[in-house]
Symmetry: C2
Subunit: 155 residues, 2 copies
Amino acid sequence: MALEIERKFLLLNEDWQPQASRSARYRQGYLTEGGRCSIRVRVAGARAFLNIKSATLGIRRTEYEYPLPLAEAQEMLSAFTLGGEVVKTRHFVEYGQHTWEIDVFEGVNQGLVVAEVELADEAEAFERPPWLGQEVSDDPRYYNVYLAHHPYHSW
Amino acid sequence: MALEIERKFLLLNEDWQPQASRSARYRQGYLTEGGRCSIRVRVAGARAFLNIKSATLGIRRTEYEYPLPLAEAQEMLSAFTLGGEVVKTRHFVEYGQHTWEIDVFEGVNQGLVVAEVELADEAEAFERPPWLGQEVSDDPRYYNVYLAHHPYHSW
C-alpha cells in the first residue's frame, strides 16, 4: 500500500507555465461509480496504469498502482469506462523542495486547471508558489472521478 | 484481452470427488457493484490476482487478469470489498479432453457446488461427466459477484 497525501489548489494565473520542466498527456477513465474505492485506467503516452484509490475525502488516501499492457488499457477504456473520459496534460514544476503537478484539462473539462503537491505527511511544510490560488483538497468536485460524471462545463 | 468462454453446471451428486487431481482454496471479494465490469481480488494460497471481467450475461465474457502482491490484495479485501467475501475450494477434475473446475462454497454460501468448463469457442463439444447436472450458464445468480451480495443461504 502507498499512502497518498496530496494537497490540491486552484491557480491564480499562468505564471507557472515557463517553469514547467516536462509535461505528459493523460487519457483516463473510471471503471467504478460509488463503492469504497475508485478504479482508474490511465494511458500516458505508450504506458498505462491501473490505479485503485480509497474513496475517502481529504488529503490522505490509500492508493495502489500497477502497470497495464497498453493495448489492454485501451480496450478497457473503450469497453468499461463509466461516465466520460478525462483528458488532461500534466505539467511538472519544481518549486522549493517539492514537485508541483499542474493538470490542464481538455474537452468537456476545458478551463479547469489544478495544482497538486504530494507530501510525506499531513504536517509537512512546503513553499507556496506565487501563482498558487485557493486550496480545494476537501472539495470532492475536483476529484477526477467526479469530473468523469460531472464535467467542468456542466458546473 | 482474454476471451473467456465458460459453461457452468450444477452437480447431480458427489461422484466427482475421487476424480479431483488437485484443489485450491480461494478467498475473493468484489470492488464493484453494478458498472460495466466486475472487479475481483482473489487470494489463492500465497498468490493473489486482480481480475476484471465484462458484466455481460452468458457464456462469453472478456476478462483481464493481473498478479497482485499478496499483502496488497489482503489489504484491498479488507478495505474495499463491497458485499461479503466469497470463500470456496476449487477442485480440478480431468474428464475427456477438458479440465472441470468444481467450486465448493463455504460460509454463507455453503451447500452450493458448481462445475465449470472453459471452452475455446461457443460451439466446442465436450464430454458430459455422469455427475453433471443442470446448466446454469445463463443464470446470473450463479455469478460469484451476485453471491457476494446475495449469499446462497438467503436464496
